[in-house]
Symmetry: C2
Subunit: 485 residues, 2 copies
């Protein structure tokens, strides 16, 4: 038995035989026998129920269907927050946003702060382990140079710095050939008419390269960038973070997809994302990289329900964006790695975007940062079929408080609130509400009275968690003084 076959066998059996777990895991089944590539495809405001594998009846997603059929579908996979910046900060660091000070709001075009620069992003961790790193799409963790992807562990960046309904910051660096000052006057931006989409800048590295960004071609351009990145790095391990700008409103589809879906514009946009997923998977296949690459598909938070037909659907889950009901934070979670992940497998255990940090570090033999309290679990046992997810508990934070806690199948709500940007009436529940998410995934039946010992146990878990650390200072206080809304 030569060394290559020996290692392959070890890897299949999952036994370490004296090798470190990490050393074993770096050997995948593809022809290159190297550290695996990692791709995260991250949608924006996509609901749990918005794609075929999660039951949407009128949005056609043949590529995501294929990804789930040939990969693994998680049915309890969570974003770490029900809104954008906190959710993304947790994905990047493997930590609850409350530790980072990014939990309270989202960054705006007038924000003068970002994800704390002392945090070690997953891109930095993987870069330190020899990975080429690329970020394509929406960032939303600070748009000043020191907060941008190229200063946070990514070799390259192409995308919009925050949400696609935001405007430009007149202080931003601008490429020489962009006629920026003319269209970005404060006067123009203060006109509400000019906020109806299309006033977000497109960046390359740390410079604005297009303003206003043409959003109709954005998904296609992101996809091309990603295809190029994969091809360019086909001979060395890479980490690609592909953060789509959609289906966050305002919605734009390309000419090819406009008017094609039964679901209207929202469906057109999601079907274009699906086609993009197909191009990524096809590129991996063409480059003979599919057996060397883990692809993860998920989203940053639930659907923006108050946008009516332009908002998505959380399927059978209650609530949406901004809420700590399941619909606000539970997301599609599809893991794809032919040869390593069992085709058509379904995982009902708990996983979160924070867990990607340790999972990726484990697969990549990357060092996790010293002296940092991670809120991350290595999901490998569940992904590769050797066991269950190590995560048993999840805290649903909103603003700076624990609104709810999931522990096993139980979920205890201390606070709930209404739909995002619809007044959001906040209700404190004393006694708290208890739901069994296994029996009652739609959070309809409060069973607190019948299970007082469960209520007490979860209250204690929340108390111990809160007392175990000091929240980070809010990162939403530093602002440029031109803010006008």
């Amino acid at each position: 038995m030569n060394r290559r076959n020996f290692l392959k066998y070890v890897s299949i059996a999952g036994a370490s035989l004296g090798l470190s777990g990490c050393a074993v895991k770096q050997f995948s089944f593809g022809p290159r026998q190297r550290k695996p590539n990692i791709i995260v495809i991250f949608a924006d405001d996509l609901g749990y129920g918005d794609i075929g594998p999660y039951g949407h009846p009128t949005i056609a997603t043949p590529n995501l269907d294929r990804m789930a059929e040939q990969g693994q579908k998680w049915t309890s996979f969570y974003a770490a927050a029900p809104v954008c910046s906190p959710s993304r900060s947790a994905l990047m660091t493997g930590r609850y946003p409350i530790r980072l000070g990014t939990d309270e709001s989202v960054f705006f075009e007038w924000s003068a702060d970002g994800l704390p620069t002392e945090e070690v992003t997953i891109a930095q961790a993987l870069k330190n382990a020899g990975y080429a790193t690329g970020c394509v799409g929406k960032w939303h963790l600070g748009h000043l140079s020191r907060f941008l992807p190229t200063n946070r562990g990514f070799d390259e960046y192409y995308g919009i710095p925050y949400s696609n309904d935001m405007r430009v910051d007149p202080n931003m660096k601008v490429a020489k050939d962009v006629n920026f000052r003319e269209s970005a006057t404060l006067e123009k931006m203060r006109n509400p008419e000019n906020r109806k989409g299309g006033w977000v800048p497109l960046m390359e590295g740390e410079e604005v390269v297009e303003y206003p960004c043409d959003q109709t071609t954005l998904t296609g351009r992101y996809t091309q960038r990603c295809v190029d990145f994969i091809k360019k790095n086909s001979d060395n391990p890479f980490f690609l973070y592909m953060a789509h700008s959609f289906p966050h409103v305002p919605l734009f589809a390309s000419e090819e997809f406009s008017g094609k879906s039964r679901r209207g514009l929202y469906g057109d946009v999601v079907e274009e994302l699906d086609a993009s997923v197909g191009r990524i998977l096809d590129t991996l296949h063409e480059q003979e990289l599919e057996n060397d690459t883990l692809v993860v598909f998920t989203s940053d938070n639930g659907p923006w329900l108050s946008k009516f037909e332009q908002g998505g659907s959380a399927g059978l889950l209650r609530g949406g964006k901004g809420q700590t009901y399941e619909g606000g934070m539970r997301e599609p979670g599809i893991f794809y790695w032919p040869g390593r992940i069992a085709a058509g497998s379904v995982v009902m255990d708990i996983g979160t975007t924070m867990d990607l940090y340790k999972t990726f570090c484990s697969l990549a033999c990357a060092k996790t940062p010293d002296g940092v309290q991670l809120d991350s679990f290595d999901l490998s046992p569940a992904l590769f079929g050797s066991g269950s997810s190590p995560r048993k508990t999840f805290f649903y934070y909103r603003y700076r408080e624990i609104y709810a806690v999931r522990h096993g199948e139980w979920k205890l709500h201390f606070i709930t609130q209404g739909a995002y940007r619809q007044g959001e009436p906040k209700t404190v529940h004393n006694p708290p509400l208890l739901y069994h998410l296994g029996h009652d995934p739609s959070e309809k039946y409060n069973v607190a009275k019948d299970n007082p010992e469960v209520v007490e146990e979860i209250k204690q878990i929340a108390k111990e968690h809160s007392e175990s650390f000091v929240p980070g200072e809010s990162r939403y206080k530093k602002r440029f003084d031109w803010k006008d809304s």
Copy 2:
């Protein structure tokens, strides 16, 4: 080119070349080159969202997942009524229940009537075309001998004659070895304690063979009967109607499945149904019949929501059993026929259980009854990928009225009502409510004001339909006088 290959080519191309459409279709791709077998697996009160392919997060249905992945998932497939007997009468006849007089209620143990005997059931039509016909499971179209399956086109019958929450009719024929009179006294049956499940009779042919029926082993026994039927008929075309008694309440799972699901007892029961589906598909594979057999999986109506955790979920659809919102009548609809139906295909067109009548007759070269107005469309173009579903319009009947009409993606509600057996407040809408089911599958946004011409068009369609026939006389008036509830 020999005759066999010639016909295969014709069948693939879908061209008739002078042969009748029927003659072409009888040739399937399996080794036997004969008329295809047909199996309908019919669940009871299963919701649109209750299985993996339609997005349930805590019920594991690996066999239905496989059936959808290797077959075809319909996302707008309807039962013809939101409650049991009307729905089943439509499946059996390809006609709206209002034509049959079966629309107003459901049959009870004191009912002295049934599906009109002059109606030609799909079993009769297929039997006339040379099919062996078997019925296993819940019937619910009349429990007196002349209404039972063996007098309505089926060679054999094994199952319960109506819902599993009903009691015995003391007038029924009983097998010699069954101690029936002792346990079936009116006094015992009048005791509400004795209604808590388990007081339904099990029949073989036209005789009660077990009373009270042990429901814990019912799914397994049905499955074994079906496996035996398939094996017995492996050399001639057969039609098997497998109508499960669950997940209608009261719920019973076998020892093997009890307590196994994350969804509680409801999940246990559905997971046992899923395992049953697996056994059927495995049997077809073992018997080398899978390329010769069309298998259809669907349900009779939506989830019984007022049963709380013991009722199912319609997923993202509004409403449930007894209602004419989508959740009451739209069902999982999975079609499986390896070699004929494209694996992993998804159909978003409209189909109904009534359409199975013409579809099956077409596949089987069976004659449809003369002089009978069928409400059935041959779904073959959509099933086999040559075109779209011919059905464009669907009437949602409740009691003896049209409550709603779907026409294309539009749905107009004239009347809506509350959850089944929860008071069911009825609301007449004048002007009617208009929803776009493509854009708004959850029926949230009434867009009647913006689309007055659509409202008028659908009103006219409903009027013409209603004026085109005389409703059948109600079949729920003849009763035994021992009725006591």
